[in-house]
Point group: C2
Chain length 383, copies 2
Amino acid sequence: MKTLKIYGSTGSIGKSCLSVLRLKQGDFALKLLAAGNNLDLLKKQIEEFNPEFATIYNNDKVGELKKFLAESGLNTKYIPFEKSFEIYSDITLSAIVGSAGLIPTFKSIPFTKRLALANKESMVLAGEFINGECEKFGTELIPVDSEHNAIHQSLRAGRKNEVKSLILTASGGPFFGKNLEELKKVSVEQTLKHPTWDMGKKITVDSATLMNKGLEVIEAHFLFGVDYSNIKVKIHPQSVVHSMVEFVDGSIICQMGKTDMMLPIQYALYYPERVATDDFSFNFGESLRLDFFEPDYETFKSLKLAYTCGKGDITDRIILNSANEVAVSYFLREKISFVSIPDFIEEMLNKIKRERVSSIEDVLEFNEKVKKICIEEVTGGDF
Amino acid sequence: MKTLKIYGSTGSIGKSCLSVLRLKQGDFALKLLAAGNNLDLLKKQIEEFNPEFATIYNNDKVGELKKFLAESGLNTKYIPFEKSFEIYSDITLSAIVGSAGLIPTFKSIPFTKRLALANKESMVLAGEFINGECEKFGTELIPVDSEHNAIHQSLRAGRKNEVKSLILTASGGPFFGKNLEELKKVSVEQTLKHPTWDMGKKITVDSATLMNKGLEVIEAHFLFGVDYSNIKVKIHPQSVVHSMVEFVDGSIICQMGKTDMMLPIQYALYYPERVATDDFSFNFGESLRLDFFEPDYETFKSLKLAYTCGKGDITDRIILNSANEVAVSYFLREKISFVSIPDFIEEMLNKIKRERVSSIEDVLEFNEKVKKICIEEVTGGDF
């Protein structure tokens, strides 16, 4: 039985992971459930899964969690969030959304054999440091993101030095095919209607701007060590092909299947084994149509910005990510428009003074500074 | 430098193989060029490639070949066709079309490390004996057919016991979507217009009837040890996805690329390496559409017949293949109609008395007998 820690258990990926555990009980011993804020759900998860430890990031809720554990009669023990990193486990699922996921991801690496990574911001903000830490401690990194997971699977059909390019597929979001004028009028409600995947709000907005794909391009660069010029994006509205690998001999290997995050999560937990915990069969139906288009880099500027920042300095990536997080959160509160998101990022990239970032601590410090500036700017600016 | 023998060098696959050799000279030493009938082309190939040995199947042309070699001043030596099997080589490409390919394939197995198999009839007629012989001599079998080659590549993304099903794609041929009434009127000329692949005449007719896919289903069964109930066919008119493997966890891995036989041939020659001998990149263009449909088993009866014969006795498969070969050759000579092809096969399956077939010699004997009966019947019947 393998041991497992879950960071972000009450989020979309965390919940899917617990659904995977439900399917084949006894394969994993749960060491830790760590939530950010949703104590009500965390309590239910603790009651159902009886982890050895539980914790919550939001300090205001620690007292209530402790009280619940004391009164519950369960074996689950409370552990402070920062202390939890040092609990040893075979697998750590990093599924906290946004830049808050960086520290749990990084700090868990020395204490886990395998990092199942669903937090793309870790790689965007600090891919070089995450990779360095994994190498140092011999920690295996398996991506959970459906695209990178598909690439991980497809890469098995060849050798590392035989890879010519990676092709990430993108659903295109609800606004695929729209022009800039049309984008200016889109509402939050329209933006949150994702055509194929059911995800959290932040990532759904990122899918609509194509920033999600941009962040994934950067993530792919660090995960697979492929140059940005050899990482391509194709709009694939049906989201059936989850991504592809082109080899030097012209063969393209792709992975396709149901749009259900349980699949890549299960893969990351059981790899190198493939297991049939449930019927996850893809249904072709009477007919299946798959389309692939070139992205419109001019209208969906966020994707272009991500490539530029990826090729640039680590500080560019930090500004890209933070400015996007701030802009999206203000867009969700209807304070700025959809098209202002990339405009705001661009302005922050031009405005914010760079600093020397040469450690994970520097990343955190610069990231906090950038976030503060962005928050000040977003309300003061014209967005 | 690896040694290579080519059976069927003047056919479509043989010529493509020589094109692969042209791209990166010095990787292979040509031990043998063996042609069936086309002496003119064989002479040119000998002059260009200087194989150690050359031979021709058609006895009437042996004298001329010997004379050519004697007068040419080249080092290439003549060897009788049946003697050539015993020339040792690292790789033997079996690319003779039709049941004539069985003996060179089978008899070469003890004398080669790798059999690159493009002759599907070998597997259809005698899959159990080919597999047994390969096992006995430790000969590796790499399929060259684009579908089976795609499956070979896709299988690398998992373990053998994790395979749930194989999904062979079929272009559907020029008559995809037509009903039986429409099929009754199609001409030889229309049949030979294949939408995506440029192949020999026999295989092009087989593509139009879907018998080609039927033979491939049987071939896949023997190549990969998968039950017929887990081998599926999808009509995929664009022929971009060459085939797929479904794993037990629901993941489908597929291989796609250019419709150029040089690609799978190169793969079979160089495996496990992937090499960039040329730019074989697949071009997605501005947009790419891929469709997948269920085959129409009632209208394209040949495919259904192949499944039935596959699940049946080896004699069923021999009758299926021979009756089809005879019917196609008479169709090409405009003696019978397109829809008569499966009708004729069905009648032969009902009519021909079965015999005990328990060796490769039995296969040959029964196959000759069946062919004779079929030829007698095809002109006498109502086809």
